[in-house]
């Protein structure tokens, strides 16, 4: 069942001035698959997403790597044609759905915009899409403004707008972070279902291992601009082989936790790009770190079970 991947990111490197932000990040996503990128805030997840859309902030530039969309290198696409790629071949949704909708435009017009058509001409299609993302009473909602809708509904609208043109790839950057827990679960279910029904390749960015557990087929754990560990979600959750993954997993709140029990938090903080040293970037916070970790960068290597890990102590963790 080896589908040709919809999106391939190879060895992506990004820099701001002299400081590297993202260093050799690579992954691929097949149609209908949900791949999560997980890591603490400041790890470079959002800039990676922006690089895939080829809409990096002015200060940040790509210093290496390739992004292949349906086998085609997007760096070869001229900017004008790239506009047709965005929203048509790949779409993106964000953390704050209410702020991501134009306050003065009705939701129907904003969804129709993704089809490059006036709402009047595609009203039926927009209504069908609204129903598909679980909006009740779409005939009324279609003419409402974002401020009349809840955050969860706005995220459904964003999803409708992102998917109506049937893109091959959807990038969701913290799509549920601003929503409360029950709504979060509904939105994740929706993404999961739409990914399979429409055979969309979904890149889901989150800082929350709980979200990964809910939705992702595969996961790439990112730390300070590099991939620490990547592989099938089930394998990684069952047996993390990178200390950072293990600590992230330990930080998921569980139902069995007594309310007051202390959540495992990772000591210290993510280094900023200007502080990146020669060795493993997690070494300063890692319980297993030794002299070699501080001096040498551990390569991302296969461990034989379909996973890749960038840790010298991976075997010792088995």
């Amino acid at each position: 069942m080896s589908d040709a991947p919809a999106l391939v990111v190879e060895n992506l490197s990004l820099a701001i001035g002299p400081a590297g932000l993202v260093d050799g990040v690579g992954f691929q996503v097949a149609p209908g698959e949900v791949m999560a990128i997980v890591g603490e805030s400041g790890c470079g997840k959002s800039v990676t997403a922006q690089a895939i859309m080829r809409l990096l902030p002015d200060a940040i530039r790509q210093t290496g790597g390739r992004i292949l969309l349906g086998g085609r290198d997007i760096s070869a696409i001229p900017e004008r044609a790239m506009r047709a790629v965005r929203g048509q071949l790949m779409s993106m949704i964000f953390q704050e759905p209410q702020a991501a909708l134009d306050p003065l435009t009705t939701v129907g017009s904003q969804i129709a915009e993704a089809l490059r058509q006036p709402l009047g001409r595609v009203r039926g299609e927009v209504l069908r899409m609204l129903r598909d993302v679980g909006i009740s009473d779409p005939e009324r909602r279609i003419d409402q403004h974002p401020f009349e809708l809840s955050g969860g509904m706005c995220q459904r609208i964003m999803i409708a707008s992102a998917l109506i043109s049937r893109p091959a790839v959807l990038i969701a950057d913290e799509p549920t972070t601003a929503l409360d827990v029950t709504i979060q679960a509904q939105i994740l279910d929706l993404l999961r279902r739409l990914a399979i029904e429409r055979q969309t390749a979904v890149v889901l960015i989150t800082h929350d291992m709980g979200v990964v557990a809910d939705i992702a087929d595969r996961v790439a754990v990112m730390y300070a601009g590099r991939i620490a560990e990547a592989g099938p979600t089930a394998e990684i959750f069952a047996a993390p082989r990178h200390p950072y993954t293990a600590l992230l997993l330990a930080s998921i709140p569980r139902l069995s936790d007594v309310p007051k029990s202390k959540l495992a938090v990772i000591e210290g903080r993510v280094p900023s790009p200007s502080e990146y040293g020669p060795g493993c970037r997690f070494a300063s916070r890692c319980p297993r770190a030794d002299a070699r970790c501080a001096a040498e960068t551990p390569p991302l290597r296969p461990l034989g079970d379909g996973r890749l890990t960038a840790c010298f102590h991976a075997e010792a963790m088995a």
């Binding site: 859309m53 809409l55 506009r83 047709a84 790629v85 965005r86 929203g87 048509q88 779409s91 993106m92 949704i93 964000f94 704050e96 209410q98 702020a99 991501a100 909708l101 134009d102 306050p103 003065l104 435009t105 915009e113 993704a114 974002p146 401020f147 964003m158 707008s161 992102a162």
Partner: protein, 277 residues
């Protein structure tokens, strides 16, 4: 956003509507031809009735009916203000949008130009340009329109910078919208509020500018009436025929006051702090 109309703002809107109606309906409302002179009827006081007509606001030094001239003057005033505000609004907003969207050297160039324009006293600039180009209705409109755009540019620039950084503009870019579409469909409507506030305050100023330039003989040319030129002609008779300066002056005062009060009301309504996201 609560749409509350206080009695004060209702009165202001009614007065403004009255001025607009007076200007638009000057042909129908005028009791006499504003240009018809009569040496026998020179400087008659308000309320003077001849055998054929009553001169409610009196007559001027050439025996023309003052009420008719004030009505036509309102038309000149509002027309010049509306047209010149439109010109400067379009020019200023376009430049502000460009500066705010492209930033970089485009913005530096445009905003330096704005600073330069704003450092020249506006009335001096207007007087100088009219002096060079010569007077006339269209030239007046162009001079005012093309010297008064910088304030719009400043406001449009700041507002565009702010709106362009908002998530929904980023989302539109991610959805593949081009710059033209984003500027036109998503940024312009969202910065229209503050621009309307500027346009209103400029509208009041333009009425004063037209009156001032016409008073100096650089605006609307005789024999066509403008409040400024009526007052200018009435200046020499101010002791004998007070109505020639008082009536147009009062109209000017009330109109500009209403425009400015309307502008204040508008500003409170489009205040970003009170707006829903």
């Amino acid at each position: 956003m609560s749409a509350r109309f206080s009695p004060g703002i209702v009165l202001i809107l009614l007065l403004l509507a009255a001025f607009v109606l007076a200007a638009a309906g000057a042909d129908l409302l005028s009791p006499a031809d504003p240009l018809r002179q009569s040496l026998l009827l020179r400087l008659r006081e308000p309320g003077f009735a001849s055998r054929t007509a009553t001169y409610w606001l009196g007559t001027d030094d050439l025996g023309r009916d003052l009420l008719s001239r004030i009505l036509y003057g309102a038309r000149a005033s509002l027309l010049v203000a509306a047209l010149s505000v439109s010109v400067s609004l379009v020019v200023g907003t376009a430049l502000g949008l460009l500066a705010g969207w492209f930033r970089g050297w485009t913005a530096v160039l445009i905003m330096r130009f704005v600073d330069t324009m704003l450092s020249i006293p506006a009335i001096l600039l207007a007087v100088l340009t009219v002096a060079v180009l010569g007077p006339g209705f269209l030239k007046l409109v162009m001079v005012l329109g093309l010297t008064r755009w910088p304030r719009y540019t400043r406001v449009a620039y700041a507002a565009t910078l702010q709106v362009a950084g908002l998530p929904y503009i980023k989302a539109a870019e991610m959805a593949g919208c081009g710059a033209t579409r984003i500027l036109w469909r998503h940024i312009l409507p969202n910065i229209a509020g503050p621009l309307m506030v500027v346009a209103t305050s400029e509208f009041g100023l333009m009425i004063l500018f037209e009156a001032g330039l016409s008073f100096l003989g650089l605006g609307i040319q005789p024999p066509y009436p403008s409040w400024g030129s009526i007052m200018s002609a009435g200046r020499q008779y101010v002791t004998r025929a007070w109505w020639l300066t008082v009536f147009p002056g009062a109209c000017l005062f009330v109109l500009v006051l209403c425009v400015n009060l309307f502008g204040d009301w508008l500003r409170d309504r489009v205040d970003p702090r009170s707006r829903g996201r």
